[in-house]
Symmetry: C2
């Protein structure tokens, strides 16, 4: 049997055990995992150095090497992350509905683990630990398939975590790492109906699209974000500038950063030139249509394709619109239903925007950068769902659960 | 552009309008639809007669013709079904979470429509109306793709419904019927990411498997049920018999009926022979292993394959087990995670069964036949989900919704 199938089977068997554990037993396991990470620091750093050396030899980009790199501080942070998950409430066992039927049946809807979760990701070794912690906390087994760039780090980390689990009620088999980093092992995971209950991709657009296009296992799509900020006529100039700048430059590489700024004609005439200077000072390249370039002559020309591009970089499209409806229409056409913002002092415009824009998170007078499990107060985040089924937006622990109806009777039969 | 893509596009445009409607506006549309069905009775019956004639000519099985057949009473029932949906609470707009962050951000999690729902189904024309009513009530557009057997009925029904919508706030484009009944039109729907937000298959195992295996659009899997009833040692004989018989014969053709009866050795020795006679009187063929056939000599031999078969018929597998764990193990191996029942007077056994069996609905001392949206008191049912994501078990109106985070600030930016 293949590595993927064998390990998924072991994970499924372990899930039956996990399902019976108490919150205390799961928390104890997480604490041991945190300790084990710290204890294995030297081994993990040595393995990480192997990955980095291989990456440098292969000409990997510095930004990728930076994502891959571990330090004693990063390992301590990752271990601390596990301890913080311990402190979060365990959603498993929560009663979501309680129904008493006229025939005497008592029906409870209870949160239960999903079962076995597959995570397909790229080169960040911290995902290995974060995902393991969140899945185990919610009583799920997890099958991890990280990228080849981090395989030495991941093997060493998982070995340490599994050794820690051996002394706990959580079976080490609940945590599986697929060591085969060929594309075929991902493809196999995506078709593992009956063994995997869900696959969650974490990474760039091509990784996510591969999962969405090829999985027969249910998927939670995450990630892609072409986010807009619309500055309405009459918006407060200082607030609008602060929000727009923050949405673009506070961390351009992430999915909730802004890619296109929509500006009402009146605001543009009064403030766009100054706003453009602020972006310029922050090293942002602007791309605009003719109306924009009239006010900001140094801006480059924007193309249709640009509006449909997630730059994740210091590049911003700018478009002038004549009314709210034009902004709504643009967002409807180019948005990816992730995070969208209106800056306005007109309550009816804010209300229409929040109601009519179809996105996981819609903002009035706040930066789109807040779309994040920690910023929402969930205390954790397994990713940001951009689909509408199951979970939408930042996903905390409840997104890793399913439900079950428990029905207690006294001999009822259906007439 | 293809019929499927054109109609899905129109449905998507209409969804933007639907999203803004009040519950009253949607209810008004449903009432008009109900009236229109009654008014179009003669046309619908004539079209249905065409379908039936074609079916008879093609040698369609009588049971299939029965599913297809409409009568004035059935049309009245279907119209009444729409009126009952009017009476149900509209989940759209419900606030599910309200978070006030230390930085002053106010975050609301609100129920919103899914958007555009694709329904792929077989020959029951009532599904056309039921699905349309439930989708529109929850503010969703719907793209219906029924089977060729009912195409004349479906066209006439949808024409009547759309004509009724023309006088309401709900755009007729929100209701689309794919008239191309070639397999290719289903295949096209399954890949319509960006236009369809979800596809729900309703029908037999092969239809559902085709959808699950080929869709890149998110799917809610429904249907397949290999359900078990386990009669524990010390169960009350009369209650056990009533529950087991009901689970098998009250309506054998449906997914929540029982396919395999597991009986503890002690109960079997005392009661299986008599219980078998009751099944025989109800025309049920029994299939058992050697231990069963010692007690019920007329039972046929059961095969491994039988345990993995959803008969939906008057056939029942019987197996004797020595302990609860053996029953749990059997259910784990052969169950489809739909509905599972234990009949017992031992509270610890009931508790273990309800906790450890991984299924959408787990029963203690009640028939598995209750797994149904109406029996659960939901007032409606779009299907029974057998997957763990988004919805599990009977799906009422909330299963046809997603959520959206609305965030209101006063200029907050992320540090």
């Amino acid at each position: 049997m293949s590595e993927v199938k064998t390990k998924a089977g072991l994970a499924q068997d372990a899930a039956a055990t996990l399902n019976k554990l108490s919150t205390e037993q799961k928390n104890e396991a997480l604490l041991r995992m945190a300790d084990a990470l710290i204890a294995a620091e030297a081994d993990i750093l040595a393995a990480n150095e192997e990955d980095l050396r291989r990456g440098r030899e292969n000409g990997t980009a510095p930004s990728m090497l930076d994502r891959l790199k571990l330090t004693p501080e990063r390992i301590a942070d990752i271990a601390q992350g596990l301890r913080e998950v311990v402190a979060l409430p365990d959603p498993v066992g929560d009663e979501l509905e309680h129904i008493e039927r006229p025939n005497g049946l008592r029906i409870q809807k209870i949160r239960v683990p999903l079962g076995v979760i597959g995570i397909v990701y790229e080169s960040r070794p911290n995902v290995t630990v974060d995902a393991a912690g969140l899945c185990l906390k919610t009583g799920n087994s997890v099958v991890l398939r990280g990228g080849s760039a981090a395989i030495s780090s991941n093997k060493t980390i998982v070995e340490a975590l599994r050794k820690a689990l051996a002394d706990t009620a959580v079976p080490p088999e609940a945590l599986q790492l697929i060591e085969d980093t060929n594309r075929a092992s991902v493809d196999e995971m995506l078709k593992l109906n009956g063994l995997l209950d869900v696959v969650i991709p974490r990474g760039g657009a091509s990784l996510i699209q591969n999962v969405v296009q090829n999985a027969t296992v249910p998927v939670i799509e995450t990630g892609a974000g072409i986010c807009h900020t619309y500055i309405d006529a009459g918006a407060k100039a200082a607030m609008a500038e602060a929000i727009a700048l923050n949405a673009k430059v506070q961390r351009p590489s992430v999915c909730n950063s802004m890619e296109t700024l929509l500006v009402h004609r009146e605001f543009a005439e009064a403030h766009l030139a100054a706003l453009a200077e602020s972006f310029k000072s922050s090293s942002v390249e602007l791309r605009g249509d003719d109306r924009v370039r009239k006010l900001v002559p140094w801006a480059n020309a924007v193309t249709e394709q640009d509006f449909a591009t997630e730059y994740n970089d210091y590049i911003l499209n700018v478009k002038i619109v004549d009314r709210l409806d034009e902004a709504l229409e643009h967002i409807r056409k180019y948005g990816t239903k992730h995070s969208e913002c209106i800056v306005t002092e007109t309550p009816e415009h804010a209300e229409r925007f929040l109601q009519e824009v179809d996105a996981a998170a819609v903002y009035h007078n706040a930066s789109t950068r807040f779309t994040d499990g920690f910023e929402f107060g969930f205390g954790a985040e397994i990713g940001i769902s951009t689909q509408k089924l199951h979970a939408r937006g930042p996903m905390g622990l409840p997104a890793l659960t399913s439900t079950k109806f428990k029905i207690v009777g006294s001999g009822q039969i259906r007439k």
